[in-house]
């Protein structure tokens, strides 16, 4: 049976560690590889991100010099800096750093674009 709370737990722990997220190298963000199934929470992040930030999350990350989401150390560093400077975004109440929100929004974007009849996920 679906339990939204437990899914939120997974969502939160994913964001905390980035441990389950990997992306293909060379072509940043697309095509996208992920060990985590993109799901509704991540698409919610994408919707909030676009609504608040007004630009694609991938573009934001690249502007910040993040070209490879496998670089967890850099992501964590950037995320900590975001939290310290108050660069945070609230998604369904979750207070996320811009960096992790952008990363999650990238996954959400892929989820939205995949749809039931085809996937941009590889």
């Amino acid at each position: 049976m679906i339990n939204k709370y437990r899914r939120k737990m997974i969502f939160a722990s994913t964001l905390i560690s980035f441990s389950g997220v990997t992306f293909g190298k060379g072509l940043p963000f697309y095509p996208l590889k992920t060990k985590v199934n993109p799901n509704q929470e991540f698409s919610e992040v994408y919707a909030v991100w676009i609504s608040v930030m007004g630009e694609e999350p991938a573009a934001y990350l690249m502007k910040k010099g993040i070209h490879d989401l496998d670089n967890k150390r850099l992501l964590k560093e950037m995320s900590v800096k975001d939290f310290e400077s108050g660069a945070t975004l609230s998604v369904n109440g979750f207070v996320l750093s811009y960096t992790e929100a952008a990363a999650a929004a990238c996954i959400g974007s892929a989820y939205i674009n995949s749809g039931p009849f085809g996937s941009r996920l590889v």
Partner: protein
């Protein structure tokens, strides 16, 4: 000795050096501290040694009662020991900033500082049964060998709370000493109904009490002290002042005003990182007490962000207790009952459907008293259950209603609400905590701001800490009692208890009530000695 007021036939005249009205925590502590130095102490208590509906009924408010505030009929107890007969014994000292004038909190600022009360806190801890070993976080972190997750932060910190096992019932623990003392007489079932105030000497010469309507006796005392609690102190003082044209501390129309409680708000969930260790925050049981850590904002952060103090214990939460589906169900039902469709109806409906197992669990528990799903009780997150410092607003007040009790005294009417600025500051505090938790890699925080109406509505709890109604101040324009707890406009009339708090801090008030009472006993002893 104990004298049952019902045995008095009326017309008795009792002499005393000090007359204490009220046998709760403040009254008992003050009496015990005065034992050594004062020759003749009388303590007048409305109730007896145990609970009685007859006495308790005198606490009922005038009808209709304010729906925003809990009915105070049973949140206080009207017999010897007072509210300590049902308290949880949760103790922590106020912070230094709690005493300060903060320009972002109107009417804040005590006329005494933290340093004034600091010497009395260790003894207050002993009175409360939690020992005099203090609340210093580093001390407890080392003693218990448990990590303080906030050590690297200047934004958040860890506070310490201690609760005695079993809870200290003050008359049960200290009553025997008072009863056996030669210089103490406790009159039970004795309801104070009036005082005689001499406007020339500015002294309360007599205290009148009745053991049954019309069966009246009097106490003549050099010092009169009221310790009846945050609501009753104001009620009686308003009652006395009807006869004396507000000369008893009410020149500034402050009696009963600035009424505060501690709203208890579960406004966020904390998802700890897997490496974040929280045993200190879940509580450690020692032989005689429980020690529990709680999150708080540093004083530096409170100042920089202009927010009220707030205590943030971490309460382990299950899937059931933090279910979005159950919460959305309540929001939808409340709206439907009012003939409305709730805001974000689609989101609530989705929550309801996606979390249908927890909704089913709730129905099963409520209707059949049966649990269905094991995973409902699995722990995954922590609720941040905040005790909020409420700003003192002049229009939050205890006043006299239309109904009267059987002694002819008007019952209380309570006007109270949480103002929007306090709510805004709480959300701001949580945002700061969320950012710091993220910055320090402790986990993530989810604010429940989208359900603010419920968080501040039917889900809001109360400390039932009645404070502020006879506030301490530098002048009678701003308050009711001076820094020595003497009622403005009088020479021998004092008050103690949380009614004298100008602001309520972020922790339960009892430890500070005890500290103030020890200090007051010292001041009274010195005064009596000086006067002789």
């Amino acid at each position: 000795m104990i004298v049952d007021g019902k045995t008095l036939k009326g017309g008795s005249v009792i002499d005393a050096d000090v007359c204490i009205i009220g046998g709760g925590v403040a009254g008992i502590v003050t009496a015990r501290e005065l034992l050594k130095n004062v020759g003749n102490i009388v303590l007048i208590e409305s109730g007896g040694e145990n609970y009685s509906p007859e006495s308790q009924e005198l606490y009922s408010p005038s009808k209709p009662h304010n729906s925003l505030y809990p009915d105070p009929s049973h949140t206080r107890l009207r017999f010897l020991g007072g509210a300590s007969n049902h308290w949880e014994n949760n103790t922590s000292p106020f912070d230094p900033i709690d005493f300060e004038k903060r320009n972002w909190i109107k009417n804040s600022g005590w006329p005494i500082s933290y340093e004034t009360l600091k010497p009395y806190y260790p003894m207050a801890g002993s009175y409360c049964g939690v020992g005099g070993d203090g609340y210093e976080t580093g001390y407890w972190q080392n003693k218990l060998d448990l990590p303080d997750i906030t050590t690297s932060s200047t934004v958040i910190g860890t506070g310490i709370a201690k609760a005695a096992i079993p809870a200290t019932r003050f008359f049960h623990v200290y009553g025997k000493e008072l009863v056996s003392a030669d210089n103490v007489r406790i009159f039970t079932n004795s309801n104070v109904v009036d005082v005689e105030f001499n406007s020339e000497s500015k002294k309360v010469d007599k205290v009148f009490f009745e053991s049954a309507p019309g069966v009246r006796s009097e106490v003549r005392a050099r010092i009169v002290l009221m310790c009846c609690g945050g609501i009753e102190n104001a009620r009686l003082l308003l009652h006395f002042n009807k006869k004396y044209s507000n000369k008893l501390g009410n020149a500034g129309d402050n009696v009963g005003r600035y009424f505060m409680d501690h709203p208890m708000v579960r406004g966020a969930h904390f998802y700890p990182h897997e490496t974040t260790e929280l045993p200190l925050y879940e509580g450690v049981k020692l032989a005689d007490k429980v020690v529990i850590g709680f999150l708080k904002l540093s004083e530096e952060s409170l100042r920089a962000n202009k927010i009220n103090n707030v205590r943030m214990p971490l309460i382990p939460a299950t899937n059931y207790t933090v279910s979005d589906g159950i919460s959305s169900h309540h929001i939808m039902m409340d709206s439907f009952r009012d003939g409305e469709v709730p805001d974000d109806f689609g989101t609530h409906l989705l929550n309801f459907i996606q979390d249908i197992d927890m909704v089913g669990e709730a129905i099963s528990r409520k209707v059949f008293d049966t649990k269905i799903f094991d995973h409902a009780d699995e722990k995954g997150a922590y609720q941040i259950a905040m005790m909020v410092e409420q700003s003192p607003h002049r229009d939050n007040r205890v006043t006299l209603g239309d109904d009267v009790d059987r002694y002819g005294i008007q019952k209380v009417k309570i006007i109270w609400e949480v103002k929007e600025d306090d709510k805004d500051r709480l959300w701001k505090a949580l945002e700061i905590v969320a950012q710091e938790v993220g910055a320090k890699g402790l986990g993530r925080v989810r604010l429940l701001k989208e359900r603010s109406d419920r968080v501040w509505g039917d889900q809001m709890g109360f400390g039932h800490h009645h404070m502020g109604t006879t506030r301490m101040a530098a002048s009678e324009v701003e308050g009711v009692v001076d820094s020595n707890l003497k009622v403005f406009g009088t020479e021998n009339f004092y008050m103690s208890g949380s009614s004298v708090f100008p602001t309520g801090g972020h922790v339960p008030p009892t430890l500070t009530i005890v500290a103030l009472s020890i200090r007051l006993a010292k001041l009274i002893s010195e005064r009596l000695e000086h006067d002789q």
